[in-house]
Amino acid sequence: MAGSPMLKLLVSLPLDLLRGLYRFVHRLSTNKPGFVGFLGLLLYFFVTFIMPDFVEFDNEPKLDQIAGPIGSRIQLAVHRDNPQWDSLEALAGKTVGVVDQTGGPSFIEPWRDTLAIEKYRWTSRRQGPGIPAALTDLANKEIDGLLIFSKTVNQVIVEQEDAELRQLFQDNVIISNSTLGPPHLLGTDTQGRDIASHMVHGGQILILTALIGGVIATMIALFFGSLSALAGGFIDKFFTALANLFLAIPQFILLVVLAGIIRFDSTLYLGVIIGLLIWPALLRAIRAQVLSLRERDFVEAARSLGLSMNHIIFREILPNMSSYVLINLIFSITIAMYFQIGLVVLGLAPISDYTWGVMIYFGRSRGTLYNPDGASMALSPVLAIALFQVCLVLFARAVEEVFDPRLRSAG
């Protein structure tokens, strides 16, 4: 039966893979940091590739969670006879007073046409009337509602000596829900959206992009690096020279310039470009490795046995390179990650996908980075990226120590 070997393969292949995986993990577990890195990567995979199916991306600006500079609790002050206001849309066409230390928050902009905004300053030291004036206006119905951005508004006003002000506040202000922490594990961003949901959804594309970049670079390097080392002669000289030339160009700068020229419509496209940029160092590493393998005894032996070049490459050299290639792949993934997020932070990469990088970008451009209470919006992605990179490095080092035949035979 023609099908039977095929069938056998179908059964044995997954089994072999599983067994291989088990052995891999087993050996990896001898290296504690590496194992931690490996578990970390699994966790990242789970959070960014599986959890998005279960957690919805929170894209709706919410009134009751809006925070100007995030972390400062927003207080919606309305008249007691106006309890139906529970979303931003309801404010359209009304006059709303905004009291804020840092000026008007960006979320209000979409409603600018219909929403009349009076600005008040939290402290009257700067220009503009302060809180008492805002409360008076509210009481006099000169404004329809009042948004106050501050963590401490209750406290400050209630502790006020001024009994009249306290009264005004108590009569006219309903404080909307503005809790941090559960149900918003990581708090909310400048538009009142749940940061945790953004974290779940914001990693996948970044990781995919870095993977694409890393894989492309590694494939180019592997193919041309081995070719270069095995063919020698002119081909070798050509690729070595090419790699050296590319190495002399400041690659990140080149990417920055390219980003100014090409509109990267998608993040994944960016990954391809990065892959096409970062191969040269890799090529040299792989070429050197193939060269040294070529001199090894077992390859010499295979050659003297008259085995074909194909056999030597695919049976002798490549299997012995696998861990080395894996290590290089991981390191090029970290570089691709570095490049793309660097671009995003500079604002030169697409911000259409709401990734961790974009979160940092907005965190910077909207000033939450500079607000001690708003740290979460920038800090969450910053930490996520940092730890992801660290997991990769720990993992790569462990593979290097545990699996690289070069190091093992030396040690």
Binding site: P33, N244, P250, V257, G260, P372, A375, V382, V390
Partner: protein, 369 residues
Amino acid sequence: MLHDQQPLATDQQPPAPNLSLMTARLYDPLLKVYRNYTARVFLQAIITIWVVMTLTFVLVRLMPGNPVDVLVEQILTAEGISYQEAYDRIAASFNIDKDATPLDQYLQWLGDLLRLDLGTSITSPGTKVIDEIARFLPWTVFAVGTGLLISFVLGIFAGMPMAYYRGSKLDHILSFFSSFSTGVPNYIWGLLIIIGPGISWRWFDIGALRGTYDVGLTPGVNAEFILSALEHAALPVFTYIIAILGTWMLSMKSSTTGVLNEDYVNVAEARGLKERTVISSYVGRNAALPLFTQLTISIGFVLSSGVVVEEIFVYWGIGHLLFQSITVRDYTTLQGVVLLLTAVIVFSNLFADLTYGLLDPRVRVSGEK
């Protein structure tokens, strides 16, 4: 680089077969090879720079949103003159030869370059690109140089004990730290510094540390200015240090591990040398050798990866200039900056190749290890 290129140099004139017999008689041809090698590396450097220059020339001209058109539009609407008139005026003020073909432009640009003329800025007419670079570059060189040097020295001193006490707790802790140091991108370190000590704990005022020195100070050799400049550079420098340190530590560790297995270290100990002597002149000196090459080569990388760091701390170095010129599409400045950074990289590699011999006597004479 070293190893790739040196065999080339010796292809033509093989070194004397027996170095033990090396005498003044043999010294001459070897010196020639060495000279030849120098010439060769120089030529390669020049070619590299030329290729990169041409590449940037082409790339930059592909950028959308030609600034001349933007300005012409502005005058057109503001003054109600004809397009031709407006264009001529802008072209004149920008010193653009409107009839020149791209090839002519390229050749002229090359010619200017040979006279070290990088042209004038497009968006702020009258400003020479070379002056702009001269204004911004020193700050980057200062910050990056300091960061590199400090991290290098720290890395050497941290890497050696890692090798000496391999497998100990100290080694594990330092290795773990180095994974953080190398894994976490430098701008992420910068952001962490801003968020943590800067904003949350208020150890310093991030806002006041923008720029390269306090506004209102006149640059010059006075204590106030220097202090202020140091203060402003502190955060970028610290970021560079922490982001590169891990690499040096690991390199030094593996290099030292190798040297510790060398016979001469064993013999040195058997000779009853003081531990200090063995550590410094026998282990340290040999282990640090390969790191010097790495140091010179990494200059370029750190320079260019500093763009984001400078942007994050609003430190006005060359990265800031580059970023500005990209956002306003000032392509003469952009060209100048890219060219300059490339030149720095190429020449630091060249420097590494040529000076290695000064550090390692084995390559001093033969140009080959």
